[in-house]
Symmetry: C2
Amino acid sequence: MTLIDETTALDRAEHLTTLGASLRRALDGSFSAERAAARNAFPSANMLMDPQLDVDAARRWTLGRLRELSESGFGSAGVPARAGAHADPLAAVVTFEMLAYGDMSVTIKSGVQFGLFGGAVANLGTAWHHDTFLPDITSMKLLGGFAMTELGHGSDVASLETEIVYDPETREYVVNSPTQGAAKAYIGNAAVDGTMAAVFGQLKVDGEGHGVHTILVPIRDDQGRDLPGVTTGDQGHKGGLLGVDNGTISFDHVRVPRRMLLDRYGGVDEHGTYRSPICDPNRRFFTMLGTLVRGRVCISAAGGIGARRALSIALRHGLTRRQFPASGRPEGVLLLDYLTYQRRLLPKVARAYALGFAQNDLTAALVHVQGGGHHTERDQRELETRAAGLKAMTTWFANEAVQEAREACGGAGYLSENRLTTLRQDLDIFATFEGDNTVLMHLVAKGLLTHYAQAWNALDRTGVVHETTRVVGEALLERSAANVAFERLANSVRRRPEETAMVDRGWHALMFEERARHSLESLARRMRAARKEAGDGFEAFNRLGPHAQFAARAHLEQVTLAAFVEGIAQCHDDDARAVLEQVCSLYAMESIHKDRAWFVEHHRISATRSKTLVEQIDTLCRHLRPHALALVEGMGIPAPWLSAAIADAGSYHPEGA
Amino acid sequence: MTLIDETTALDRAEHLTTLGASLRRALDGSFSAERAAARNAFPSANMLMDPQLDVDAARRWTLGRLRELSESGFGSAGVPARAGAHADPLAAVVTFEMLAYGDMSVTIKSGVQFGLFGGAVANLGTAWHHDTFLPDITSMKLLGGFAMTELGHGSDVASLETEIVYDPETREYVVNSPTQGAAKAYIGNAAVDGTMAAVFGQLKVDGEGHGVHTILVPIRDDQGRDLPGVTTGDQGHKGGLLGVDNGTISFDHVRVPRRMLLDRYGGVDEHGTYRSPICDPNRRFFTMLGTLVRGRVCISAAGGIGARRALSIALRHGLTRRQFPASGRPEGVLLLDYLTYQRRLLPKVARAYALGFAQNDLTAALVHVQGGGHHTERDQRELETRAAGLKAMTTWFANEAVQEAREACGGAGYLSENRLTTLRQDLDIFATFEGDNTVLMHLVAKGLLTHYAQAWNALDRTGVVHETTRVVGEALLERSAANVAFERLANSVRRRPEETAMVDRGWHALMFEERARHSLESLARRMRAARKEAGDGFEAFNRLGPHAQFAARAHLEQVTLAAFVEGIAQCHDDDARAVLEQVCSLYAMESIHKDRAWFVEHHRISATRSKTLVEQIDTLCRHLRPHALALVEGMGIPAPWLSAAIADAGSYHPEGA
């Protein structure tokens, strides 16, 4: 990918409004130059798959399109080409975002090939693997799968059943699927295209288990036939992403040379002895998984782009389509002039901006950790927690947003030519893969309790609940400049929240902080009480599952608002900043409004004040209505790339403006 | 359709539990015998379309399957075969429900051919139309479209642009599409199969407009070629329902003989004079539209069945699939033992039951109005309002429920073989067609204000707000035995709501009633104030749009709870009744919980009490967990008909129970 500084060619072709261009720069944030350059360089012909293609044709088109994009530099960015080569995490994320402007099958196929398969070799392998395989992976000569998930074990990686047993006689590993449930499942590139897989399984050496490791296993010959002992299956038609060839792989005592084990974090030496730079198996496991964090960052980014595409289509539709005539509007009311329509879409636009700023911060954190400079283990853990949480928040939101956009466009939204239904179908699984969202939110809650306050395990030991939860509260946010500013905002109104104007950012900050802090404190407290009572760790955590989900969400909302506030501070265009302040308020108020029961129940907001939230939201919608087009432009999808008939002003509805 | 009394053959084949069979009888309600007979008679081979079919193949399969079902008696039920023949509305609804157990494209194609096209001829035509066309319609020799919606006018039927102009010279009508936006759009049977359409347009006689009327227009010859002046278009691939051939139709001064106008409510006599049995054009318009209410009843019914199918699949999956091991559960925890999983699905099961009982009442009201006996105009209006509202509530819910089921089944839920994604894609448009849900909810709010209290127009005249709103409150519910019982329940706790146990049905009734009554009263009040202030009818209603949506929903929740309570009263099996009481409580508490902010803001529930709602819901989920299988059986979909691999215990996950 060539990063050029010429950012206006496409802008000019788009005829962006001044405000729209400024909003776009603001939302692109610190990566504005890279993103603008990528937009300019992206080969934008043939962007979206014909929705009529059947499974075989969809797969062929997807593979061809990915080869084409990869040759143009929008593929393997971020995967090192050989041992010692630098892999730029920013290029990886920006490339993935660009792919998400187009077809999601291509995007995910890219993620499978470069992010997951290539990423496993790069991150878990050592020099021999890098030199031997990376050139063919980046050139797409060698296509491979990332064989982690099993039929019987989706989210529970530690319990994988696949066995990788070292045979000292032959100096080989024997890879085996001992049960039907041990079959690898949902593996991209497994049904047709892949000739190799990075297989996760339980390593056993001399009868001793060393936990989950990863080994490269050839699965097909050049003619596409399964290799001896390997059985692949085609999982066929899916709810979307038809271009990705997901399949199953089973192994019947498949023998693989010793050096095929990706042994950066553990393997067998020439004497048949297991060696690992990390002694603690648990830490080793999480270190290995931790290297894969980039996948979640990318999926989150792509989900956010998907939401913006859908909202862009629906808003452009609402700006041309008229409905019932009304007094003073004999030609019919523009859809976007209906408050109900505004309320459906504008708060979602606000959230799309908010999550965009949070995504920028997440990308920056990834660059910090994987960019080659110094970082601490705490940085890594924080990145993992935030990536897990933001991936869940963004992909859930993306599905909601696309669905709302589809419904807002009525019957037209249901026609494939308007691109919303395919997008919705493709995004659906984003809520499940790269970690099931519900499980990820549990991880966030656990992470908050564990890493930030040592509370999870310490509670029983110390018994000093108050002290512990105070620590939890203080440690809730990472120590960054943005968070210090956020804390200052919250403090500014702490003594008189009910007297503060509801559009005051300090009030939003305080409410977000109180929600996050209190829900985590009470989770810690209830966890401790429940454990004592039930004497059953599972039941205790199980009962508190919904509470843990809430606490995780509350935390992520705070992270998101803090990112938005910081993003506005970085915007130096007065008009754009003024609009962004309103967008931020709309995001914050909608978030508070959705949880207003919680705020009232916990005496953070009076019932009287709570009732008036909705009027404030209505007012913000009215104020933002004139900026609708600029807000769409700011979301960053060039209009022609939407490829939706209804988003093309005037082409479809002659009565439109 | 043969209604036989032998209801046990299929039950035996299904090995239903005793409790499951009782729950099914209870939920089938007054129509238990008819539904059981229909299940037994339904030709259940080849039920679901292969999701891999392309558009052409999907359409061919759908047409073939509908012909096959129609020959077995599951097609034209409810459409009279000739003039004077009785059309049984109950048979129509039960047949439609049965079709919805199978493929939704077939279901909707049936609705287009028999319900809409056949229904237009039957309800808007007179004896000549009946004798001439109904035999060929019911035998599927004549396939037709229901050409109401136009590109430029979806929900706004009164503004249709298509012209039907009488030419006294030739005694013909000239049908014309004056603009591009006047093209008929999204019309089922228009792209390929239909040779005729019931076309809605503005009737003009001798220069005078008489509003929207309907005329039969031949559109294709036997070879499938457009007839002169007719241009059909294929809207191609859609977000779902691939088997339904939706298309556009434009008319360029197409001449049609005089008798082709469906003239039950208005037409031109042999002297060229316009005659109508209904003088008021507005009343005529609504009377014509009112005859089409059965379509909404059917769509609502089918949506409810779709939700039950998805929930059945996800619950059966949750009863076999295990995840992370935990203390005391080394083999992994059954998904359905996770509280988070229970909370995802069981409240939706409860709502599926609740809406099922409400649907039973709606069907009974349809039978009352269209069954040939005496009914008042008020009965008709109430039926229309309830059909509009329940269609919106049920189809929105169906999409939510299927989506939640898909996500709960993880990656497996995304495979087409598990049937959830296709179902989701097919149901998507249910929220839009037969009336856009948001528009329908506005209709409900308007209906509540207009018909039940004459408030809408009277407000400005009387100025006696308190008096008016008292009337509104009292008239909120139709006067039925069920509603009298409901009122008695609410009254039983009115003086001490905060001291009443939260599982007390009286408390639920009171809360539901208060929510419905107060939101409608305040809507009426705010409408009046806003009108005075703004002097602009549109802006007034526009600003109150979200409030109107809330009031409509609150009303429908009350109607639904009342139906549930009455349904339980009709259940004479003690075990089933005990479970249904808990299911009803779960539905009621979840509904209150979702709106708890409103209840607290309006001082109906204290903040302290509100906080404890969630514990009650958790407890109900735990109590219902052991009855999960019976609850699935009660929802009425025979297990083999689910056709989902993951719903088939043990077949897919060897580690399953």
